[in-house]
Amino acid sequence: MAKTFTKPESMKDVRTHYCPGCGHGIIHRLICEVIDELGVREGTVAVAPVGCAVLAYDYWDFDTAEAAHGRTPAVATGIKRVLPDRLVFTYQGDGDLAAIGTAEIIHTGNRGENISVIFVNNGVYGMTGGQMAPTTLLGQTTATSQFTRRAEKEGYPLKIMEMMAVLPGVVYLERTSVYSPREVFNAKKAIKRSFQLQLERKGFSMVEVISPCPTYWGLTPFKAMKRIEEEVVKEYPLGVIKE
């Protein structure tokens, strides 16, 4: 009988702690599939963020380190400079990358560090209880924007990818999502492209994945995916931003 479904070798056979409908599980798996396809599981060192995905090392079957909140690209820089032939990537949420780690992501990109960054943007701080993030949409209610996010008080959604695009050291930027099978497929393609560029020593690249957080969006998993398709991508358009 033909096997129709299997877990990637790079993925541990365990249940994740993620909420129903969360995007992290899908994105974790995409990364593992790409690593398997590139045959680099034994030459990979990943850096997990502080946030919901801090436990990524419980799910990935390759070497994984943990960084202080936002310092993820700095830790990856240290790893990559010492071991330039390993596949080194960071996996960061929007709190980690777009708030406390803004300096690190910009300067790591500006140095053109030959690493990959997987930037999972769900517009809230999931781990700590759904607080407002720099990426939260205007009008969105969160634990710390209870009167909704207002431009005049809380500023505008921060578009890190567009900011990174002006840096000459950055070779590839693409924004993807996981709200439909087609988008999941595209996200995987982008992750693979980023990893391949790194293996070819082309420089810094980053893939943003717009991901649902049904728990703190107060929506069902299905409606959360719909919200990305109908609302979030208007603020964060999908596609290649720089190549």
Binding site: T44, D63, T64, A68, R71, A74, G78
Partner: protein, 353 residues
């Protein structure tokens, strides 16, 4: 084969060369006075030795780069001065939690806040009592000359690797910037290489590994068990790594306790008083953590009087009091905010004992 070479060097550069000779091949730093000569020196030497030099975007990033380099097995160092070290405390706590070796140099300046750029010893508490969040210690050594800036930095790499702990060189602006003769063997060998099976080099031929400081488990994998393991290690360090110079203490009736630059001035006072027949000795901790409690206690048991001299409002004096266990026997003299004690002032305080 010894091939002793003599140089005229600043303390900061001697520190850098000590690191290079120990085998350091990764340095990340950020400019701050009075340690800039060290960062500049490493930018050249790392390149010459085929290592990595990164001028980071902040002290936070610099120490995290060191964290990254260390977790894949490299000998790594960062340096700064007081305000920058406050920022590095985040990374130091993470290094401790993940049991990673690293060397951190603090060329202290006056504080609090931005303070000034004059030499000071106001970071003693921060360095020896943990510094960042959580229950921990790091090894802290205190050089008192350009030669010791080299020697202690060299030793720091060996110690860091041996115990898988961060080691801090606690110097000050005077030690960092003054020039003195520096002598070392050109053929000096790097620190012994200790295998690092824990390093994340890719899961080739072994199970995948992770390096982390988040411990949410229970029982044997609990954070409390991890802390017990750390405390056991600290006990071993306390037993084995106390380092103190006892200068003319055998017949002494009065003891001065000082470290770093202050010990230089204090030593001159001891010499001067000895010439007039006064029995004064110097206790100079060369390691500040672990602190030489037992050694000082032994002197206290002889009923001696102590004067502690620091460039602070009185920080190490608390450890001396803990050792002596009789506050009436311990006096203190200190200058703050970049003030340096004069010989005359110290002599007067010794006479008052």
């Amino acid at each position: 084969m010894f091939n002793m070479m003599k140089y005229l060097s600043t303390g900061n550069e001697a520190c850098g060369e000590g690191a290079v000779r120990a085998g350091c091949r990764f340095y990340a730093g950020y400019p701050i006075t009075p340690q800039n000569e060290l960062t500049a020196y490493m930018s050249r030497r790392m390149e010459e030795e085929g290592g990595t030099f990164i001028q980071a975007e902040s002290e936070l990033a610099a120490v995290s780069m060191v964290f990254g380099a260390s977790l894949v097995g490299a000998w790594a160092m960062t340096s700064s001065s007081s305000p920058g070290i406050s920022l590095k405390q985040e990374g130091i706590s993470y290094l401790v939690g993940a049991e990673l070796p690293a060397v951190i140099v603090n060329v202290m300046r006056g504080g609090p806040g931005l303070g000034n750029i004059a030499p000071a010893q106001g970071d003693y508490f921060q360095s020896t009592k943990g510094g960042g969040h959580g229950d921990y210690h790091i090894i802290v050594t205190a050089p008192a000359s350009v030669q010791e800036m080299f020697d202690f930095t060299y030793d720091a790499f060996c110690l860091a690797d041996k115990y898988r702990v961060p080691v801090m060189i606690l110097a000050d602006g005077m030690l960092g910037q003054m020039m003195e003769p520096l002598e070392f063997d050109e053929n000096i060998k790097p620190c012994p290489v200790i295998p690092k099976p824990w390093a994340l080099t890719g899961a080739k031929g072994r199970e995948a590994q992770s390096i982390k400081s988040l411990l949410l488990g229970t029982g044997k994998t609990s954070l409390e068990e991890h802390n017990k393991k750390l405390q056991k290690k600290y006990k071993e360090i306390e037993d084995k790594e106390v380092s103190v110079e006892m200068y003319k203490v055998d017949d002494a009736e009065k003891i001065v306790v000082a470290y770093g630059s202050t010990s230089r001035i204090t030593r001159a006072c001891v010499e001067r008083l000895r010439k007039t027949g006064e029995k004064v000795g110097l206790v100079r901790p060369m390691a500040l953590w672990p602190f030489p409690y037992k050694e000082i206690r032994k002197l206290a048991e002889k009923g001696l009087k102590f004067l502690v001299v620091e460039m602070s409002a009185g920080q190490m004096v608390e450890d001396v009091r803990l050792a002596v266990q009789d506050d009436r026997m311990v006096s203190f003299y200190g200058r703050m905010g970049g003030g340096v004690p004069t010989e005359a002032a110290i002599l007067e305080k010794i006479k008052e004992l």
